[in-house]
Symmetry: C2
Subunit: 335 residues, 2 copies
C-alpha cells in the first residue's frame, strides 16, 4: 500500500493522464507504472518522463484513445496492433493476454507493434511471475548503442528480461539492458547534472566521455563488445523485425523526434514452469539455495538473485515519500 | 562437401563411435558435430573431446543405445527423456522435433533431460535456421562460472544461442557464452600450453590468473558482473530446472567426474519468423542492411552479424585439412 503522500502523487499523475484524454483505467495503468519505477529506484523511467509522454499526446504522436486490434494467430499466439497507444497500456494489455493464453495452453506468445516506450520490463514480467509463470519480455528502443564495429548508435539499450516464480519470497526477475549503462540513467544524470561512469559511452566523435550530455549525443557501449552487440541485435529482431514494429535504428527517440509515432515493438513469451516437471517449485527453491550457500567474496554477506535488490529498494522506498527534484515538480504543476 | 582427408577423418571418428556401440546413424551425427566444430574454428568442442566421450561410454556413463522417451505435452511442446544418450544425438533429435512442431503449429518447444554435453549450440540452431525458423537453443553445463558475489563456480558457461534465417547469405546465429572466455578454450589452452586472457578467470583462491590449469581449478568470470551472472542463471533455470535435468551446480564435469551420468538439460524454442508479419525476409534484410551501412570505427571494413565470422572460418577451413595436434592424433589411433 502506498503511503498518503505517494498515493496523492499517484493520483496527481493519474489525473494528468486523464487531462490528456486517457481513460480513467488507462491513466491508472500509466500512473502505476511510473510510481513503480520511482519505488524500485529507476527514477530514470519514472516521473522524469511524464512531460515527454504528455508532449507526445499533445502532438498527436501518442494516441490517448487507441483501438487495439488483437489477432489470434494460433492457440498460443496473439498479435496486437497497438494503434500508437502509450507503451504502458499496450504492454499491460499484451502481458495480460500472454498470461491468459499461457494459463490455458501452457505457452503464451504475444507480439505487439505500433506501441511506445513502456518503462521497465520488470513491471510486466512481475505480473506474469505473480501469476505463476516463467516469462520473457523483449522490447526495442531508440538508437543508443553502437553495433560492434560501428561508431554510430543504432540499437536501443534493448533489455533482456526474464522472470520465474520462486517458492517463497521476492520474484526472480532479471531485467538487464545490454549496454554498460542505461539511457534513462544517462538522461537522469544530465537532468540532475551528474557525471556517468567512464567506459560506458563515446561522444559523437567516437571519443570516451563521462559527460551525460555528450553521451546522449554520442553512443553507449554494449557489454562485452561483440557479445552485448549480438544480444541487442537479437532483441531488435525479436521485438521489432518479427512483430511488424520499427527496427534497425528506425524507432524514434521520444524526447527529440516528433516526426511521427515511435512504433516500438514488444514480444512477450510466457510459459507454465511445470511444462516438463511436476515439482518446479521445489526445484527452483533448491537451485536458489545452492547458489546462496556458496562461499562469498570479501565484503559480500548474501548472494542475491536478480530482482532481490529491486524488491529491497521497493520495500525501503515504500516507507518514504518519493523524492521529486525541482524540475520535475515544475513539470507536475504545469501539466 | 568435405575434402578427401577431412572425409577420411570424419569416417574415422564415425567408426570410433561405432566401435563404442553407437548405431551407424548416431555415430554419423556425433562425427558431423565434431568435424563441424573443427571447421568453424572451435577445436575446443571438437576432436579434443573425443576421448572423453569414449571414456564415458566405456564407464557406462553415456548410454550408446539410448531409448528416448518423447512425451507430447501439448500441440507445440514435447519433453524428451534422453536416457543418458550422448548429447549430440539427443540434441539432434530434439532440434528435429522442435523444427517439425514449429513447421506445423508456428511454435516448437522441446525440453530435454538426461542428456550430455552436445558441443556447439550453433550446430543445432543452424539446422532450424536452414529450415526457415527463428530459434533459441539453451543448455547448461558443469560448474565453471562463479555467480556474482561468490568465489566458487556453480553455473556453466551456459551459452545463449539465437538464430534467424536471413534473406540470402550466411545464417544469423548468435552463440555466445556468458563467460568472458569459454571453458573449452581454457581447456584447449591447457592442452596446447598457452596462456589465457587476463581478466577472464580467478584461481581457486579467488586471485586473477592467466594460467589455464589454474583457471580450470578456479572460476571463470561472467561478462559484465551481475548482468552476465544473471544470464547464466537464466540459462540454468531454462535448461536445467524446467526440463528435469541437473541444475544449480549439479551437472557433472565430463572430464573429471565419473560418479554418474552428466544429466545435462537442453531447451529448444523454434518459431516461424512470419508469425506476425508476411514480409519477414524483406524486413530482416533491411535490418541487416541498416546496420552494415553505419560508419565504422577505425580498422573495421565491414560490420559482421553474428554467425558471419563462423561461416568465414568454415568456408576457409573447408579448403584445408583439419589440423590434428599430436596428443589428439594419439587419441584417434588408440580409440
Amino acid at each position: 500500500m502506498l503511503n498518503k503522500n505517494n498515493k496523492k502523487l499517484y493520483l496527481k499523475v493519474l489525473n494528468i493522464f486523464k487531462k490528456y484524454n486517457l481513460s480513467h483505467k488507462d491513466s491508472g495503468v500509466c500512473a502505476s507504472a511510473i510510481i513503480n519505477a520511482e519505488l524500485v529506484g529507476f527514477s530514470s523511467h519514472g516521473l522524469s518522463r511524464l512531460k515527454m509522454y504528455c508532449d507526445r499526446i499533445k502532438k498527436k504522436l501518442i494516441n490517448p484513445k487507441p483501438k487495439f486490434k488483437i489477432k489470434k494467430i494460433s492457440q498460443s499466439v496473439r498479435h496486437i496492433d497497438a494503434n500508437n497507444s502509450i507503451g504502458f497500456v499496450s504492454a499491460d494489455l499484451g502481458i495480460k493476454e500472454a498470461i491468459k493464453i499461457a494459463k490455458k495452453t501452457g505457452v503464451g506468445i504475444v507480439g505487439i507493434k505500433n506501441s511506445g516506450h513502456y518503462g521497465l520490463s520488470s513491471f510486466y514480467a512481475e505480473q506474469a511471475v505473480k501469476k505463476g509463470l516463467v516469462v520473457f519480455c523483449f522490447t526495442n528502443a531508440p538508437p543508443a548503442l553502437a553495433p560492434y564495429g560501428a561508431k554510430k548508435s543504432l540499437f536501443g539499450t534493448n533489455p533482456i528480461c526474464f522472470g520465474t516464480p520462486v517458492s517463497k519470497g521476492d520474484p526472480f526477475i532479471l531485467d538487464t539492458s545490454v549496454s554498460v549503462i542505461n539511457r534513462g540513467k544517462i538522461r537522469l544524470a544530465a537532468k540532475i547534472g551528474k557525471k556517468i561512469t567512464s567506459g560506458s559511452a563515446l561522444d559523437k566523435y567516437g571519443k570516451p566521455t563521462t559527460d551525460p550530455m555528450k553521451a546522449l549525443k554520442g553512443v553507449q557501449l554494449p557489454i562485452s563488445g561483440f557479445k552485448g552487440s549480438g544480444l541487442a541485435w537479437m532483441v531488435d529482431i525479436l521485438s521489432g523485425v518479427m512483430t511488424g514494429a520499427s527496427h534497425g535504428g528506425k524507432v524514434k527517440d521520444p524526447f527529440d523526434d516528433f516526426s511521427g509515432p515511435q512504433n516500438i515493438g514488444h514480444l512477450f513469451i510466457a510459459l507454465k514452469p511445470n511444462l516438463f516437471v511436476s515439482n518446479y517449485t521445489t526445484r527452483i527453491k533448491e537451485n536458489i539455495k545452492n547458489v546462496k550457500k556458496l562461499p562469498k567474496v570479501k565484503g559480500v554477506t548474501e548472494i542475491l538473485y536478480p530482482g532481490q535488490n529491486r524488491m529491497k529498494r521497493y520495500k525501503f522506498n515504500m516507507k518514504k515519500n518519493i523524492r521529486i527534484p525541482k524540475s520535475i515538480s515544475d513539470d507536475l504543476n504545469n501539466l
